[in-house]
């Protein structure tokens, strides 16, 4: 049995975690008071102004619309990425076909390609399609990721025994049905993690939504930017906005934190 670590280790970790949590708390603190907390009367005790400031947020930007948009965009993107990655990942992991090695090598090679740098032609295309300002413009360019395919393939290689696919084939099961009834159930844990990561990434995406969306139909991140970009910055207003925008992800983190931790650590070993 390993011995329990000393208090010093707990102390350092506790300081690190407190530091990690502090900016969140600071955001709430300023949002719950007024700007005086910044100008001298320093305190760590929250005040009672949060809802006043929050309602000012709702008056300044279309917050609820932005929240809904973010859910629509991230939900659609997540669904597509998970489904198409599982499909391709299954083929790469368990089916034999000519060119499989080369094609998978291509997937691995593109993992490192900064596709974000292609925004100028994407912007031209969106203008051409008349999608500028519409949610399609932020959904369609994110429907697949090379990472997703790579991740699902790595998982499915070990998760499904080859005999299982063989057996399904022998029984006259089409590959599509084998995917649906064998691969998809087996892929569930990895697909769930891919889903969480994709959702968070899409939720936090900023550069591209800032380019194609406008203030009337924003995602949450774009709405936050509009909140901050006035001539004069009213911090209790802006930080009420960041607090409101952070609450959903914090809830997700509290519910799924254990899985997210496992996902990050598993990704490291698999990758």
């Amino acid at each position: 049995m390993m011995k329990r670590p000393s208090f010093a280790i707990y102390g350092i970790l506790a300081a690190f975690v407190l530091g990690s949590a502090f900016p969140f708390y600071w955001s709430f603190l300023v949002a719950s008071r007024d700007n005086s907390v910044l100008t001298g009367d320093f305190t760590l005790v929250p005040g009672g102004n949060f809802w006043t400031n929050a309602s000012r947020v709702f008056d300044t930007v279309p917050f609820w619309k932005a929240l809904g948009n973010s859910f629509i965009v991230s939900g659609t993107v997540t669904f597509s990425v998970v489904l198409l990655s599982t499909l391709a990942g299954f083929a790469f992991a368990k089916l034999k076909f000519r060119g499989r090695g080369v094609l998978f090598l291509f997937v691995v090679a593109t993992l490192a390609v900064p596709t974000q740098l292609g925004i100028i032609p994407l912007y031209m295309a969106m203008a051409e399609f008349g999608w500028a300002g519409e949610l399609e413009a932020v959904i369609v360019p994110n429907l697949v990721t090379a990472f997703g395919v790579f991740w699902m393939r790595q998982y499915l290689v070990d998760a499904i025994p080859d005999e299982l696919v063989e057996a399904a084939r022998m029984d006259g099961c089409s590959l599509w049905r084998a995917f649906w009834h064998v691969a998809l159930p087996a892929a569930r844990p990895a697909a769930a993690m891919l889903g969480v990561f994709t959702f968070m990434q899409s939720w936090n995406d900023f550069l591209w939504p800032l380019v194609v969306l406008n203030a009337d139909n924003p995602t949450l991140q774009v709405a936050l930017e509009k909140l901050q970009s006035g001539y004069y910055v009213d911090y209790s207003l802006v930080l009420a906005g960041t607090t409101l925008a952070t609450v959903p992800v914090l809830i997700v983190f509290l519910v799924l934190g254990r899985q997210i931790v496992a996902g990050v650590m598993q990704g490291a070993v698999k990758g």
């Binding site: 970790l13 089409s174 159930p185």
Partner: protein, 319 residues
């Protein structure tokens, strides 16, 4: 799982007798074609929304291509010539690398330390791991706005705290180095815990008996760390460094939003304007798509180049 299997099994039992040949042919066709159909959606979409725009960027960069102008004018490599003589570009490249180094180097060192601490036999293990990962879920925009207030030159908390130690206030937005430190601290805050968990996972994959052998040989804890742990972490450290390079060189949100009400971002004297921010400003504020494409393409080559360089350097250094 069992339920789905039995459902699959029931299929052929219902059809008595030998299968018709047509069915074999169909099944053969299925085996030949289906795999391609399964991977096709990814390749088609990735080609259309990932690779094609990237390649088309190179094409656009050869034109004088303005938003709203009638006809793009082919000018060959003129955009690149201008770019290499553009002080703002070199400045942005310098800022990007400066912020990148200020964020990645301390970050990886601290992440290894935190990982080593988390690797101790802690009580409430998962709780500590979640605590460390907390910043990872924060939205970058919210985070930048919050840090912008913490690093405010007049009423920022950071300056207040420094004041307690008798350090005079620093103008985190106006000074080049100060703004780089502030922006790097946002990056560090967000990613250190995440990388610590990745490194922790790799530490736990190191076989115990290696340590036991070293213990028998009387190696000290420090010695064990430097002679066993660090070398065994090599592949993971390379992974972490390469990923943070790819992300770090494309940093945008932090410099864009660091200064509240800061106009287009990047600082009044471009003191923290990064390459992607310059790209954004050239394309969507300057409306010069050709020039912005040249910036994008040069940055693309820089990212790939640095990632490859990193890979070889770290493979040698971390032995």
């Amino acid at each position: 799982m069992t339920a789905t299997l039995s459902k699959v099994d029931r299929g052929p039992a219902q059809e008595a007798g030998p299968r018709p040949p047509r069915r074999y042919r169909l099944s053969n066709l299925d085996a030949k074609v289906s795999p391609y159909l399964f991977v096709a959606p990814f390749f088609v979409l990735f080609g259309a929304i990932g690779l094609f725009p990237l390649l088309y960027t190179a094409y656009v960069s050869l034109f004088d291509w303005e938003v709203g102008a009638d006809e793009p004018l082919f000018i060959g490599l003129e955009n690149y010539r201008t770019l290499f003589e553009d002080d703002q570009f070199w400045n942005a490249l310098f800022n990007t690398f400066s912020i990148f180094l200020l964020s990645s180097v301390p970050q990886i060192i601290v992440a290894v330390v935190i990982a080593a601490l988390l690797n101790a036999n802690l009580r409430a293990r998962t709780g500590w791991r979640m605590g460390v990962l907390l910043p990872y879920v924060a939205s970058l925009v919210a985070l930048t706005i919050i840090f912008g207030s913490l690093f405010g030159p007049q009423y920022g908390l950071v300056n207040d705290v420094l004041g307690l130690f008798g350090i005079s206030p620093i103008d985190w937005q106006a000074s080049t180095f100060g703004s780089h430190v502030a922006i790097a601290s946002m990056v560090n805050w967000r990613w250190t815990g995440y990388n610590a968990l990745i490194i922790l996972a790799a530490m736990q994959a190191i076989p115990r008996d290696v340590y036991e052998a070293a213990l028998v040989d009387g190696a000290s804890a420090l010695r064990r760390f430097f002679s066993i742990t660090l070398p065994m972490l090599k592949p993971t450290l390379i992974f972490v460094i390469v990923t943070s390079t790819i992300g770090g060189l494309q940093i945008f949100t932090e410099p864009k939003l660091f200064e509240p009400a800061g106009g287009s971002g990047g600082g009044s004297e471009h003191q923290y304007q990064t390459v992607v921010l310059y790209l954004y400003q050239s394309a969507f504020q300057g409306l010069d798509l050709g020039y912005a494409s040249a910036i994008a393409w040069v940055l693309f080559l820089v990212v790939i180049g640095v990632a490859v360089l990193n890979f070889f350097l770290t493979r040698r250094a971390v032995r």
